[in-house]
């Protein structure tokens, strides 16, 4: 998937709630690549233009799982705090 696809994809599946500031995606991608979580290669897009394609690596998949887990814990905790606050009110 190239950067543009990722932008559109995030917008679509988040139903336009999460709008990435389009440019800031790229430094993030490059940093993730340096960490070895994703790999990249140049390819040709559907409309015959050169584009950079990114793919999740096994290390990235592991990292993703860990981060997801972490995120769930955080949201769960936040939810509990909110539930507590709601119950009080």
């Amino acid at each position: 998937m190239h950067g543009w696809d990722i932008t559109l994809h995030i917008q679509q599946i988040s139903k336009e709630v999460l709008r990435v500031e389009e440019g800031s995606l790229y430094p993030a991608l490059h940093r993730m690549e340096q960490e070895g979580w994703i790999s990249s290669e140049w390819g040709v897009s559907e409309n015959k233009r050169r584009a950079r394609y990114y793919r999740l690596t096994p290390a990235g998949r592991k990292q993703l799982a860990a981060e997801e887990n972490n995120w769930r814990n955080v949201t769960k905790a936040v939810a509990r705090v909110l539930a507590f606050a709601g119950g009080k009110a």
Partner: protein, 920 residues
Amino acid sequence: MGWIRKARALFRREALSAELEEELRFHVAMREELNMVEGMPPALARADAQQRLGNATLLKEKMREADLFTFAESVARDLRFAARMLAKHPGFTFLAVLALSAGIGINTAVFTAYKAFLLRPLDGAHPEELFNIYHSRPDQAYDPIVSYADYEGLRDNDRSFSGILAVTGDELTMTDAGAAPDAAPSLGSSVLSALGFRLPTTMSGAAEPVTAALVSDNFFSVLGVAAIRGRVFTARDAAELMERPQLLISENYWERRFGHDKSILGRTVKLNSRAFVIAGVTPRDFMGTFTTQVPDFWMPLRLEPLVHRNSDLLTNREKPCCTVIGRLAPGVTPARAQAETEALANRLLSLHAPGTEGSRPLTIQVAPGSPFQRPQQDPKLKLIVAVTLGAVGLVLLIACANVAGMQLARSAARQREIGVRLSIGASRARVVRQLLTESALLGMTAGSLALILSFWTLRILVVEAAAAMPIEWGTFALHIHPDGAVFAYVFGISLLASVLFGLAPALESSRPDLVSALKEEGMRFRLPVGNRGLRNTLMAVQVGICLFLMVMASLLIRSSSRTLDLRTGYEGRQVLQVNLSFPATLNYPPAKQTAEVNLIRRKLMALPGVTGVTLGRSPDGGGLRTAKILPAGRVIFYTFVLPNYFETLDIPLVAGHVFSVGGSDRLLVSQSAAKRLWPGEDPVGRTVTLDVSDQFHVEGELTPASHPYVVAGVVGDTRGVLLDGSDSDKIYLPLLDSQFAEQPILVRTHDDPRRLFHAIGGKLHAIDPNLIAGAMTLDDALRNTPSFVIARCSGLFATVIGLLGLLLASAGIYGSVSYAVVRRTREVGIRVALGATRHDILRQMVSETARPVTVGLLVGLVAAAIAARLVRAILGGLSGLDPISFGGVSLFLLAIAMLAAFLPARRALRIEPMAALRCE
């Protein structure tokens, strides 16, 4: 893994930059397309796409940071910036580089000299494989000398070494070598004489002394050194060497004595009247196993009997002769070699005659090869090295404190620049890094300058000193090479210095205080409290180190000037000492030698200006021997003199009378000897016997008669060269006619003694052209004694260090004190306006300066007192708490600091208060 990619990316920076560009362009193009599909007009579609992307330049910058190492780039940027800043302030840069290169330079010089002199390996290929082999016995830790027979035993049987060589030095007489090229007066000789070294004037005829290294046949093959012309001899040449005696000449002597004469190979020279053919020339400055001297000739040891008739050096197992050095065989450890050699040496013990020195049990030591047998074990040498390195280290510290002071003063002026950088988002670490880069650039510039300066200075000194030494002294050489270790050392101390003088000011000036920094006014009005604390510390440190250094320097200078004091108790300036030697080749019988000396004495007496001629050794100690005086049992120096010795040298007769010519049972004692032998009693008329049986003597030398002597009189003390003064206790024995030949001739003149040199030379040549003679005044001879040379060198060193330290420190102290006061001009204005009296303000300014200075002085005094105790060994009798050194230096530094506070404070007071307030 990331960093590999990052590093690799450095090599394709251009391509990477294009890729980043393309990636972003693709995104914008896609967005633009989408916008157009959604119905935007083309221009708006493009602008919207750009806007949604954000700041493209910043994005690219961030992606670059992720993709490659930008550290090196930022360092380069910092360096460029630092260079610009330094170039913008040439005055500061010049002074800082000057101070630092003085500090670094003196360190580099000392380190280079130390390395060239003491850490030098043996002269040969792969010196790390070469090892010194020496004996050690329970009562004598170190005995480097092995007999030739034992050496052969080791050489032929020791398998742990691939080769073992033996070497010893010798002095020979060369005859019929033809005329020598004229020596041009060199810069070096004037430098040496300015330092107080006096070179003897030689008046030689056809014979001239030469130095030779007697070496085993395999010497050059073990060292792995080839001749630059002709060839070296090897172990295979033994038979040929015996048949046709040959030797090698050093390139240095070839140049100095034969002027690089191309026909040198195959030429015959006569050494001790035996003919040798010169077979080759060894490389310039090649000294093999010697420390600082290049021998004139290299002669096979097996030819030694040719030059010393009746010598049993090669066959007598009890006669130690040689230093032994081996090249370790491949794969053998020094420990194994030591074990094997020791086993072998113990087998050799049984070959020694029972009861001899050589038959006593021993162990063998195998130590890394060095021309110094064991520099690392000599405690006094170690102390001197430590003191020297410590002293120059302190000079560097003072230089650093000095530059730190300048940096600090400058940082106040740079506050605005730094404030701006901090406020637009630079982190403090980043600013400190930038300031340190500037310091490092300064340090490195100074370091490279220092390296070049010190290297060439040393080089020129060594070459010139070598050229200035008289040819009879052999050739002096020291290998001064700036090698990896020296570079690393200079680099290291430059960097260390940069951090030392740069870190504190950098931390201080990057302390974030944005608001006041940006407001030009505020900054200067606010009292920079923290800054002042740092400055006070710096001042105290500078004063302390400087005091320490100068006290030590002045202790050294005072102790050497005590040694150099020429109040000796005898006339030294007007008396020439003429040393005669009868070349061994002449083989004169003693009667002929005596007759010739008597003839010379008569002829010299007849020279114009000469008022006295006598025989005897100079009182400066050369060749003095000791004897046990019975019945008192004390050991005292004695010497043989003619009766007119005292009159010629102006040594006063205190009591009794001088012994008469030819008398053999009378002697004279010096005052202090009389005091020691018979405290409080009259020595004249007493009878003593001199027992020399267990005192050191050379074979065949003149010793006191065994019959009792009567004390005829007492003469004044003369000063010798021993630091404890024990050589002022002296006994004078009458010299007999048959003993003339061995004593120097002393000639007293009322003229300029230098003018006499030529006349004496002419007379000697007329009497016997084969004589070798050298002459110098007694004062000059005294100046050349080791204790004088050491005292002069250490005095010189201390003076240089002390002056350099003083210069740097007083400039530094004055600079930082007066700057601190100047910065308070405005404060002074306000206080005067508020009604403070001049007296109040002066007092406050001076006392505020006095505090850190006093702290520094106290710390420095305590440190110096402790250090003085540690180096007592090299102070030579001077009390470690010498009041002149301690008090004088303290007062001097205090005065500088007070002056530095007082002068600007007074200037500040002269300014009209209103002008002071307005001026900033």
